[in-house]
């Protein structure tokens, strides 16, 4: 499969995944473009893989996590001018109690927790695949999801029920 063929087949799904992962169309654009550029660089190797989509999707995830770990992203980009804010940023969970503000709660999640939640509830990946994607243990995946749901104020009981019977959702659906 050539890189162009890969793009034709998988770009739509990757675009949506990047958008969900980042929660911001602009950042999704940057993260996905960066990841695809690197994928193109190594395509002679990636293109021969059995599941190149999984590898590239992991590159997108890694790029997102790296981007979120970057000091400048955490500390500088909170203001458009590049200057540090004089006052503390408001707690994004303040006053949040309904689904309409889930978006804000998601934006406040630490990157790994957000990625774990997205991989579980958007792509419906099992613990093992999420662990491989994020480079962490299954226990750490469960912890991240549990803490993520708590922060999102999602019922843990429903999560347990969902875990018992979890339908597969195709990427990009």
């Amino acid at each position: 499969m050539t890189f162009e063929e890969f793009l034709d087949a998988e770009l739509a799904g990757l675009r949506r995944y990047a958008a969900v992962l980042t929660g911001d169309p602009q950042r999704a654009h940057d993260v996905l473009a960066d990841a695809l550029l690197r994928a193109h660089t190594g395509w002679s190797r990636i293109g021969r893989m059995e599941f190149p989509l999984a590898y590239v999707r992991r590159m997108v995830t890694s790029t997102f996590l790296s981007e979120r770990r970057r000091w400048s992203v955490r500390m500088i980009r909170v203001s458009s001018s590049g200057e540090l804010p004089d006052a503390a940023m408001p707690d994004p969970t303040d006053g949040v109690d309904d689904r309409g503000q889930l978006h804000h709660l998601l934006a406040g999640l630490p990157s790994r927790q957000r990625a774990a939640v997205v991989l579980r509830y958007y792509l419906d990946l099992p613990d093992a695949e999420i662990a491989a994607e994020l480079g962490i243990t299954r226990a750490a995946v469960r912890t991240a999801i549990s803490r993520g749901l708590a922060a999102l104020r999602v019922s843990a009981a429903e999560e347990q029920a969902a875990s018992a019977v979890r339908p597969r959702i195709q990427e990009g659906s």
């Binding site: 739509a12 990047a18 169309p25 190594g42 970057r70 689904r99």
Partner: protein
């Protein structure tokens, strides 16, 4: 309380706001184009930069300068070159470089006896620096060695056909137009001048400092910009800058070349060059012979207002066109120990009269021994498909001014890992060299490790010159910074770190001491102009957030408009 159903619905909503297919493809095409257009030029510089690492790895230091500084001959406006015989069926023609004349004459500030000048279509820059501390022109540094002029380490002027718009790095992203924060009329030696100030990391044409400049319009309609920097690269006080500006008179001066070449191709006769005296490095002696109007040192960015995907808020950064240098014949000179030149990689040896040229036809480059430890490297446009004989003749026609004293850069402590080599191999279809073994480095590693690392870098340059070349340039900057921090010389470190001080600069962390470091292999390259390195630093005194011992610290480097690399940020995550 929310439900999982709510969460799934919210995630699906986010998916509906994905960037468009066209946006992604357009950006990706731009990034791929920017990468490919640099390969040709980077390959040439890559070999030279690998050579620098080899030279530095041999442990040669600034002492070389003092040993050789006993009265070198003065350089001349044009370097004499040999009369090389033209091969049969050649595509080459003979060429005579012409003298370059500056429209002004400046009196160098005390202690700044070094010279560096650059010229390209529509612009000319002359800088003065202290050669007792400098090894790289205005980007001077020698860790631990104070400048002879504590207030003023470098100064110079820039002449442009049209007004120069500084650029600035904000938020660790691609350069964007720098807003002028102040524009004040000043009197400087009778010139009707303006004092311009811009953000501290702003740079102008050729990547010269632009945070504070005095400018006026010359009688021929061109613009002149005067700048001056302290030992840490920061602007000097206004009075010192005005004093230097006042010394400038509109009297033409013929500038002295440090490199010459006697052959070129038809149509490639318009030269741009970089010249430095008495010290040279990889940026010190290069000449480009290009088609009319082509500026081989032009930045490959353009910026405009509006919402953008790659630039800071309010700007769009665009990669433009093909790399103009790929259309030029290029020659550069760099120093390298003779016994280590062979590590540059497999080339075809071609004799030209008394000169043996080492040719790589595939990369369209060749190098020759210029004597006194200096190697001359030439490149031709790949589209010209020059023969080995032509490339050899081209290389044999290169000479470095005998007046130039050669000063190598200090070597960074490079840790080349198998992973690095694999990354290099992945990025180059021509990669064939096996990965070098992982070796410990640091203070205990000594010269042999640095030399081994340098040889590995040279081998990488041979198998993947594009990747290794950019990496070698990046490592020179990163190693220079870390060496300076380790020696406690924050002034020297500031030459390499142009990000905001609180953006991970180890020099601005109270109480922290860098005991040792190890660069853990090659960088991630989010774009052709950005490289993220992971470095294992051994520290003490960092407080609760940075415990004593080993810690991974990530450094973000950006390519500057002048072609050099600088650290723009650092932190615990890449």
């Amino acid at each position: 309380m929310n439900t999982v159903t709510d969460l799934r619905a919210e995630l699906r909503t986010l998916a509906e706001h994905a960037p468009s297919d066209a946006e992604i493809r357009s950006t990706l095409a731009g990034l791929r184009s920017a990468r490919s257009k640099r390969r040709r030029m980077t390959a040439l510089i890559g070999v030279a930069a690998a050579v620098i690492l080899v030279a530095g790895g041999a442990g040669i230091t600034g002492a070389v300068l003092s040993q050789r500084s006993a009265g070198p001959a003065a350089p001349s406006p044009v370097v004499s070159v040999p009369d090389v015989p033209l091969p049969a069926d050649t595509k080459l023609i003979r060429h005579h470089l012409q003298p370059v004349v500056s429209p002004v004459t400046a009196i160098p500030p005390d202690g700044l006896t070094g010279r560096m000048w650059l010229s390209s279509p529509g612009r000319l820059a002359v800088s003065f620096f202290d050669p007792t501390t400098a090894s790289d022109g205005w980007t001077s540094y020698t860790p631990g060695k104070p400048s002879a002029s504590p207030r003023l380490a470098a100064a110079g002027y820039l002449v442009t056909d049209s007004r120069d718009q500084p650029t600035v790095l904000l938020g660790g992203r691609a350069p964007a137009a720098a807003p002028l924060t102040d524009l004040t009329p000043v009197a400087a030696g009778g010139h009707d001048a303006m004092l311009e100030t811009a953000p501290s990391t702003s740079t102008g044409a050729f990547g010269l400092p632009a945070a504070q400049r005095i400018s006026w319009r010359l009688s021929d309609g061109r613009w002149i910009y005067i700048w001056a920097s302290g030992p840490s690269g920061d602007p000097v006080d206004t009075a010192t800058l005005k004093d230097f500006a006042a010394s400038i008179r509109e009297v033409p001066t013929t500038l002295n070349r440090t490199i010459g070449i006697g052959l070129t191709m038809p149509g490639l006769t318009f030269d741009s060059s970089m010249n430095s005296w008495p010290a040279i490095t990889y940026t010190g002696a290069t000449v480009f012979l290009c088609p009319a109007g082509v500026d081989p040192m032009a930045t490959t960015y353009s910026t405009s207002s509006g919402s953008g995907s790659s630039g800071p808020a309010g700007t769009t950064t665009t990669y433009t066109g093909d790399d103009p240098a790929t259309t030029c014949v290029t020659a550069t000179a760099i120093n390298v120990p003779a016994q280590q030149r062979e590590s540059l990689g497999a080339t075809q040896a071609v004799r030209v009269k008394d000169t043996v040229a080492h040719v790589d036809v595939d990369k369209s480059v060749a190098w020759v021994d210029l004597g006194n430890g200096v190697t001359g490297i030439v490149g031709a446009p790949p589209s010209a498909h020059l023969s080995a004989a032509d490339l050899a003749a081209l290389a044999a026609s290169v000479r470095l001014s005998p007046a130039v004293t050669v000063l190598p850069l200090p070597s960074p402590q490079v840790h080349v890992t198998a992973e690095t080599a694999v990354e290099t191999a992945v990025s180059s279809s021509a990669a064939t060299a096996p990965p070098p073994a992982s070796r410990p480095t640091g203070t205990d590693a000594g010269e042999s490790d640095r030399a081994e690392a340098a040889r590995s870098s040279a081998a990488s340059a041979a198998s993947s010159a594009a990747t290794a070349g950019a990496r070698a340039l990046q490592l020179t900057v990163l190693g220079g910074y870390l060496d300076a921090v380790k020696s406690g010389d924050c002034a020297a470190a500031a030459q390499f770190f142009i990000g905001k001080p609180y953006n991970g600069d180890l020099c601005h962390m109270p109480g922290l001491r860098l005991l040792d470091y190890r660069i853990d292999g090659g960088p991630a390259t989010p774009s052709p102009d950005e490289a993220d390195f992971a470095v294992t630093i051994t520290i003490t005194g960092g407080g609760e957030t940075m415990p004593d011992g080993d810690l991974t610290w990530f450094f973000d480097l950006h390519r500057q408009p002048g072609g050099d690399w600088r650290i723009t940020g650092a932190g615990s995550g890449p």
